[in-house]
Symmetry: C2
């Protein structure tokens, strides 16, 4: 498999597989998430289970998509749930737990509610001890391939174990996108390993693990700055010898502040398209926010399909 | 004075004043910094004092600019310094201290060396107790005005006092650029003031100072995320009521990691032009790095001219 280099290729790759993954949408009463799900159904790679009050979901479907529903009705299943959003989230997670669905997606429900449904011991989809983190994939017009990054949203200051888990999730993801030997950059403000910086020992330990082969067939360097990782021209001027130079597939940020700044600056000023997933559950979880575009929701579903 | 909205206006503003500021270039043996100084001389707002070994500086000038030197020779003064780069830096700083020059600029000398020359008690230009920080100004094609941000380079994790000093430098700068009522965003990953986040109490205290009028006629909000601060469209979707919405003049980052990520991502993917200065010395100090373009060096000199 060739590496998937942008979101257009991602979509085409999924269409070419000819298989539909089953998605459980928790409280399917939000027109934006429904729209993204419907796009995925139409493109041919999603079979949707819409969990919520049947008459309300039907009404919204009718209102948003009208006659199209008939055409795709075999892929649109309304799962009637009489309870509130919390119950709809629990029900949707349970469907994934019971292998009736392959992935979970947030509809009209708060993020903390869906995460609680994921973590629910009896009905959720989380193996105790696994690190939950957010992993994003960016398609940036000024970059020559996709870039994966973590974690802009869930863990404020990761421990070393959490960093290692996030790196492993990212490597696994890059491989499923066809990147045979992912290049990983451990991001810091400079390439200098100042021991006074709070996470530097983690970076040094992780680099040692890398040299011992504990991450498999990957290329890793750190600390490196954003220029060295993704800006070949500016990186070269620094004359630092790094094997990731301007060609990183994966950016590991020191904390969720700096990751969040990348995440939002790349979108605002870089015209980047974004996809994102919660990792560490037993199945992919699509959690997008209100401020995300329909495209972001759609590409996040695509990303989940690659991993499910 | 109208607010200066981009670097073209900045240049034109300086040309319109008709005055030349005197710049001391420490160890003037680097063709990139010399080129930026020469541009400023030609544009009409710099009178340059080139500190270094006379014959070497002369040779480089001749080689880089040839016949142009004759035309501008009244603004190009070689200050012969027989010593090494450390001595050249010390000599250049002393010229600023003695009011023979208005600003200091780094030539072929390491950043730590020039900072030591700035901090030198007998020959430097630093009042003890003043916070040294790096302050950048960005001209971003996708933003409607200049944005000032701090600190991507000097202080890894600012104390509250350092944050307050940086905010005051930024306000002073924005005002000198004609922004009568600067909008300041205290950046965090979200708009939620989570008390577990290490710098949150600083933000809350600073907001209290703001409400007490301690920053003068400004608009401030925090914590806010990058979307709320500079992305009106995505910020609006969040439906958070903030007076800085998509219109911030000044971004205050929680630490130099996140500031550095903004600094480098905006340049790499946002096609941003950048200017930057070290603040907190008694006069502006232009410290650009090897990886900075000549434009960045030139605009940094422009920024210093506005402040000197």
């Amino acid at each position: 498999m060739n590496a998937i280099k942008n979101f257009e290729e991602l979509k085409n790759h999924l269409k070419s597989t000819g298989t539909r993954k089953r998605l459980a949408l928790a409280n399917a009463l939000d027109s934006h998430s429904l729209e993204a799900v419907m796009m995925s159904v139409e493109e041919g790679f999603i079979d949707a289970y819409l969990v919520g009050k049947k008459e309300e979901v039907s009404k919204l479907l009718e209102q948003e998509f009208g006659s199209k529903i008939k055409e795709y009705e075999q892929y649109l299943h309304i799962v009637d749930c009489r309870g509130d959003a919390v119950e709809a989230a629990t029900e949707a997670a349970l469907m994934v737990r019971n292998k009736q669905c392959d992935m979970l997606m947030k509809g009209l429900v708060n993020t903390d509610v869906i995460l609680r449904a994921v973590l629910n011991k009896e009905k959720g989809i989380h193996t105790p001890g696994n690190v939950l983190a957010f992993n994003s994939c960016f398609d940036i017009p000024m970059y020559h391939k996709l870039v994966f990054m973590t974690d802009p949203a869930i863990i404020p200051e990761p421990t070393k174990e959490q960093r290692i888990a996030m790196i492993k999730y990212s490597i696994e993801t890059a491989r499923k996108f066809g990147v045979s030997r992912p290049k990983i950059a451990l991001i810091h403000a400079t390439e200098v390993a100042n021991p006074k910086i709070r996470f530097m020992q983690d970076y040094l330990d992780i680099m040692e693990m890398y040299r011992n082969g504990e991450f498999g067939d990957v290329v890793m360097d750190g600390p490196v700055d954003v220029f060295l990782a993704i800006d070949k021209e500016r990186g070269e001027i620094k004359r630092i010898d790094t094997p990731v130079l301007g060609d990183a597939d994966i950016l590991i940020f020191p904390d969720f502040q700096s990751a969040n700044v990348f995440y939002k600056t790349a979108q605002t000023f870089g015209n980047a398209s974004m996809a994102g997933l919660v990792y560490g559950a037993d199945s992919p979880v699509v959690i997008t926010s209100r401020s995300d575009s329909t495209d972001t929701k759609f590409y996040s579903i695509c990303m989940a399909c690659v991993l499910a």
